[in-house]
Amino acid sequence: MLDRGSTLGALGLSCLLVSLLGVAIEPARAQNAAPVKLGIVSFLTGPAAAPFGIPGRNGAEIMIEAMNAGKVPAPFNKAGFGGGKIEAKYIDETGSAANVVTEFRNLVQRDQVDAVVGYVSSGSCLAVTPVAEELKALTVLYDCGTPRIFEEKPRNYVFRVSPHATMDNVGAARYLLAKKPDITSYSGINQNYAWGQDSWRDFTGAMQVLAPKITVDKVLFPKLFAGEYGAEISTLLTSKSQVLHTSFYDGDLEAFLYQEQARALDKRMTIIATTGEAAIWRLRDKMPNGTIIGGRGPNGPLAPDSELNRWFQKIYSDRYNVPPTYPAYQMAMSLLGLKLAYEKAQKGEAKPTTDEVAAAFKGIEFEGPSGKVKLAIGNGHQGISETAYGTYRFNKEKNEPEIVDIVRFPAECVNPPAGINADDWIKEGMKGAKC
């Protein structure tokens, strides 16, 4: 029979054990491990800031806060990066390629960051990549879409979790043919630089493979940030196409949609906006109903339902009063991939070296708010994921945008396999595509 003294002693011991257990269970706060310095680069000013750069920056800010507090759902719930607090420095991507490279060198050489996560413009990514390799600086490209980064030569220190733009346009072609198999002709209006040219090339290449009888009518490449599209809209109004492909984004997309709605072009042809998801919360009822919308992958309303996605949408919306769009998702996925690689490379509380993190990052596979991603091509440095397209509708009862008729395409259906570049893969008939 227990006496009072032994009962109290047992109770005290139990309390001690429970409190020790609680401390062990609770994610360790970032106190003892060395801090991890990140450079976050995106457009903070200029035309690309509002739709891309600022959502990306906000995505970084909210994710880093959550990571440091250990509040990201499992398996990302370890505080910081491997217990080390993340310290972020935010840099504006605006400026010439020379400016962008200078700022990159400053981050790496002067500020001694452990990694750089950034870049919206394909031009910036192409400029920074060789410098990152030269400086052996771990760099994660978060938004730029050019496939060329890992096709030109193998990389050791540069990674991209977000799939590249080929997926966007192959997915667009597949969705279009799934929903409108009877079209006979399409036209295109894309910005006259790498992004626009590559987008149109990949879209027409995919259409040629999947539906060779459908013809191309008008092919328009106005200047980047031209702003005035009267002549282009007149040209399209005199066209017989049923569909218009555009990779316009930001101010160009908005200006074009306002001007075409004033002239009812969207009543004559269905518009495919491959980056349209980033604009739906700004345009709202000014995005024409029936527009085929892409989100550079399964992001925003196109994201698969999961605990992580719901959590991310909530924390972002609560902070910034607007749902996250695809640049925010891409930034979140990039940071999660980097965190996983860091923690995989880490031994104890010691900071892993750049080479160790790079080795751990290669070929990594994980699930984030955008669903599953695997760094399966580009020698394990370039991510692929499924993609999704849908049709836009403004819900007047709820007074908010919706994307309906969503179709998902598996990663291997819309991305080239390892060992072949995107352009060749499309030209050769997209062999090996698993749909």
């Binding site: 006259n192 702003g227 040209t235």
Partner: protein
């Protein structure tokens, strides 16, 4: 036939937009011999001013016509203020200096004003589509024309007529013409050249701002719009001749029609055609279509 009509209308719309922006630039150059890079900032401020006015006005469900007027007035007041501040505060300190110095000063002003835009309106973009959509459209066969664009042509035509009348038939216009032709002789005849400079610069600023206000409903008002338009305005002014109003009009028409034709018929050369035309004109008439070679004074 429809294509030809579309090229004509599109060309006139584009020409109208360019003329409204370029007329202020050519006026300032003609009188003050300053290539004013900050003209792009006047355009930008005009556009942002119109965005602010549209935001205030159209959300209250008031008649659309008032909104158009408010937009233009708001922008011109901004242009007036900006022109005065820049001319009195900066330009008058560098009159008489080398032309390169003048260009650099206006470029510096442009950069500063771009940052001031961020301070006032932030880095985001503004949508001011309400006047564009409120104006409706007109169908001509298969072509649907925006009434706002047609109005733009009317505004540019009115501006051209008013400018012509003001220069030819008003006292101030004759003073301005005298200063354009020969500043020193005009001063010798007792014309207050400095006052003419101030008034001209302010009028140029107001016209630049008006251009921005008029274009705001068609574009996303964001940073960088001034840069794009100033390059085109320079091309128009170079074709027509620096300082010539009729040159700006003809230059705008040539650029507008050529660009529209390229977009419709040979879209591959659309970017090149404006500068190709400019190069061709300057080969034949190095000072532009409406300006003769000037003897150099030593």
């Amino acid at each position: 036939m429809l294509t030809a009509f579309a090229i004509l209308v599109d060309g006139l719309v584009y020409a109208a937009y360019l003329f409204i922006v370029a007329i202020g630039l050519t006026l300032i150059f003609g009188v003050m011999k300053i290539l004013n890079v900050a003209h792009g900032s006047f355009y930008t401020f005009g556009a942002y001013g119109a965005a602010t006015a549209v935001g205030i006005y159209f959300d209250r469900g008031l008649p659309a016509a008032g909104g158009f007027l408010l937009m233009a007035l708001f922008a011109m007041v901004l242009g007036l203020a900006l022109g005065l501040i820049l001319e009195r505060g900066v330009m008058r300190l560098v009159y008489g200096r080398d032309e390169v110095v003048m260009v650099l000063v206006t470029y510096a002003a442009f950069l500063i004003l771009e940052d001031i835009v961020i301070l006032i309106w932030g880095p985001g973009s503004y949508a001011t589509y309400q006047p564009l959509l409120a104006a409706g459209n007109t169908e001509v066969g298969e072509l649907i024309l925006s009434n706002y664009d047609l109005g733009l042509i009317v505004v540019a035509a009115l501006l051209a007529m008013i400018s012509f009348w003001a220069l030819k038939f008003t006292r101030y216009g004759r003073l301005l013409t005298a200063v354009i032709f020969d500043r020193e002789t005009a001063a010798a005849f007792g014309i207050n050249v400095r006052l003419v400079y101030t008034v001209t610069f302010v009028i140029g600023a107001m016209l630049g701002a008006l251009g921005g206000a008029i274009m705001a409903p068609k574009i996303a008002v964001t940073l960088g719009i001034g840069v794009e338009v100033i390059v085109l305005a320079f091309a128009v002014v170079a074709i027509g001749g620096m300082g010539s109003i009729e040159g700006a009009l003809v230059g705008a028409l040539i650029v507008g029609i050529c660009r529209a034709a390229a977009v419709h018929l040979v879209p591959q050369i659309e970017l090149f055609v404006i500068y190709g035309v400019m190069a061709l004109v300057l080969l034949i008439r190095p000072y532009g279509l409406f300006v003769r070679a000037q003897p150099r004074k030593i």
